[in-house]
């Protein structure tokens, strides 16, 4: 009886969620055929940032771990892509991608092992500090090209017996590969959310003490989530390196970690649509404030309106764009309690 009720509720919620998602995917698939190259590039960047934001959602939304150093894993993967690629020929996706993700995952496991010994404010600060350390590693050491960065000489491809299946050097192919990764990451996170692992993470977020009292080794779960989040951030980092063919230490800067946290809160924490929406809103805001057409010479001070917008959005819409309909409904309702 209970199971039947449960099944019906899943079907209903899925139906509500399915159609907007399907429309979004179809729109993204069709976009390169209708949009100009500048906009396609923008959408591409946004998709990569969406993957980055989704990876952080696993930590912040599902497990309640606010990490201010997530850019470290994005950057490590991006740099690994350039460092592991041979300087003469196109590397094979078959080994490059797993190697890059492996390095991002390893870094996340090691850094996570230290950071997860702390909680609350301390955790935020130590993740920031470790990310800054990674920034200095790539900024100061010669092997990484210093502040000038590094180039990717040839974009990776997937070939079997001499026939090229997937050439990421082809812009169209790369666009669809990126979209494919976004869909795959989204699906993976949706699967995790409904799995035992995901429920355990949610329990840790809600009440870690109770989870430990019940018998869950919460440190192991948190470390697993941290590592997985690092690997998924690595996917975004890899795509970033391939897209631009260039990496520099600024992708590891803490401004990047701040930006991705911002995307999460803009879109709405606790959902999967949130990070994707948040990435779009963030990119749009940045483009808007940097637009000389609108702001003229003042556009070079774009961080001022951005900072004010950040403060306003976080203050007024703490639950993000996703929760906007509910928030507006509550504001219009005559009930006296605060929203």
């Amino acid at each position: 009886m209970k199971l039947r009720r449960l099944a019906i509720s899943i079907r209903d919620s899925a139906a509500l969620r399915f159609w907007p998602l399907a429309v979004a995917v179809i729109a993204l698939v069709a976009f390169p055929h209708v949009g100009g190259s500048f906009y396609v590039d923008l959408v591409q960047t946004t998709m990569i940032l969406s993957i980055f934001a989704l990876s952080l959602e696993l930590l912040v939304g599902s497990t309640g771990l606010v990490s201010f150093g997530h850019a470290a894993f994005f950057g490590i993967a991006a740099y690994a892509t350039t460092l592991l690629s041979p300087s003469a020929s196109a590397p094979s996706l078959a080994w490059l991608l797993p190697a890059v993700l492996g390095m991002a995952g390893l870094a996340a496991a090691v850094i996570g092992a230290f950071c997860l010994r702390t909680r609350g404010i301390y955790f935020i600060m130590v993740t920031l500090a470790f990310a800054q350390m990674t920034y200095f590693v790539f900024h100061d050491m010669k092997f990484a090209g210093g502040s000038d960065g590094r180039y990717l000489y040839a974009k990776p491809l997937l070939a079997v017996d001499g026939t090229t299946l997937l050439d990421l050097g082809n812009p169209r192919t790369f666009y669809y590969a990126t979209l494919g990764c976004l869909v795959a990451v989204y699906a993976l996170l949706a699967l995790i959310a409904r799995s035992r692992f995901g429920h355990a993470l949610a329990g840790i977020r809600a009440n870690e003490q109770r989870m430990r009292a019940a018998g869950f080794s919460t440190y192991a779960y948190k470390l697993a989530a941290f590592t997985l989040a690092g690997v998924l951030a690595g996917v975004a980092g890899f795509l970033h390196a391939v897209k631009d063919g260039f990496v520099n230490p600024e992708i590891l800067a803490w401004h990047q970690s701040g930006a991705v946290l911002l995307m999460l809160i803009l879109g709405g924490i606790g959902t999967l649509r949130g990070p994707v929406l948040g990435a779009f809103v963030f990119v749009l805001m940045k483009e808007l404030f940097q637009s000389e057409a609108l702001f003229g010479a003042f556009a070079r001070h774009w961080q001022l309106p951005l900072g004010l917008a950040i403060i306003a959005c976080v203050a007024l819409m703490p639950n993000g764009v996703v929760a906007l309909p509910t928030q507006l409904r509550r504001m219009r309702a005559p009930l006296p309690h605060a929203g």
């Binding site: 209970k2 199971l3 449960l6 699967l191 995790i192 409904r194 799995s195 035992r196 692992f197 995901g198 429920h199 355990a200 329990g203 809600a206 009440n207 003490q209 109770r210 989870m211 430990r212 009292a213 019940a214 018998g215 869950f216 080794s217 919460t218 779960y221 697993a224």
Partner: protein, 260 residues
């Protein structure tokens, strides 16, 4: 038949800097008995329970669970080995349903964290155990309500249900009757009495009437040390216990008697 000793504390001490919160406390818990732990505030009861549960480490002494030395084991490991606890402050998942609260607690024994493709709420093992725990705690009617909307007494029942969902042998209950009215207290006592035969229960409580009604044995703690252990009548008659704990009243009565 000799009682099966499920939990033993052997000379357990816990020091916080200069303060000796628990001073060589020893006690045993056998299956089928309700063992009450009483003492004034600051006597070290909660600290001792925390050490037994594994939430804080002992600075001296040993803890044995079903014969195994678990002194160095962290709390989750002890919980998986059959040690359950409830908290004085209600420690539930307020935004989930009562059913999901118990199911998640039950999942601790069926973690299968790598099975990412399966739906957790369809897990037959954890749902079965959760249903049983909810039934035992008499919360079946509330199973689909959001835990945060329950009354205080129902939340305390849920606290026990979540404890039961991990199928423990030993139950460490920290003031389960706190904040309850007479009806709810009766219900809780009936629940505890029904649990007693299959489990070993350590009950920390301030409600003396309830303690003397339900406890098979009582341990009294004062200033971190165990002052006396025994059956309820023996404890009631113990002069030291009367003086230290039940105490100021006895002094006052004596003085009044000598004056009249």
């Amino acid at each position: 038949m000799p009682a099966e000793i499920l939990l033993e504390a052997i000379d357990v001490s816990r020091r916080f800097g200069g303060l000796l919160a628990v001073d060589r406390a020893s006690l045993t818990l056998a299956r089928g008995e309700v063992h009450a732990l009483i003492g004034t505030n600051g006597a070290g009861k909660s600290t001792l329970v925390n050490v037994l549960a594994g939430e804080i480490a002992a600075t001296g002494g040993r803890v044995r669970l079903a014969g195994r030395d678990v002194t160095r084991w962290p709390q989750p490991r002890r919980a998986r080995a059959g040690l359950g606890r409830s908290y004085q402050r209600t420690t539930i998942f307020p935004r989930a349903t009562v059913f999901e609260n118990c199911r998640l607690a039950a999942q601790a024994h069926y973690q299968r964290a790598f099975a990412l493709w399966s739906d957790a709420t369809r897990c037959r093992d954890s749902t079965r155990v959760a249903e049983q725990a909810i039934e035992h705690a008499a919360l079946t009617a509330q199973a689909h309500r959001i835990a945060g909307t329950l009354s205080h007494g129902q939340k305390r029942q849920l606290e026990i249900a979540m404890c039961l969902a991990t199928a423990p042998d030993v139950l460490l209950l920290d003031e389960p009757l706190a904040g309850m009215g007479p009806e709810e207290t009766e219900r809780m006592l009936a629940l505890l009495a029904s649990l007693a035969p299959g489990h070993a229960i350590l009950l920390v409580e301030h409600d003396m009437d309830a303690v003397f009604r339900i406890a098979d044995r009582i341990t009294v703690m004062v200033n971190g040390a165990v002052m006396a252990t025994g059956e309820p009548d023996a404890i009631r008659a113990n002069a030291d216990v009367q003086a230290a704990y039940l105490g100021e009243d006895a002094d006052a009565r004596e003085t009044a008697a000598s004056v009249t």
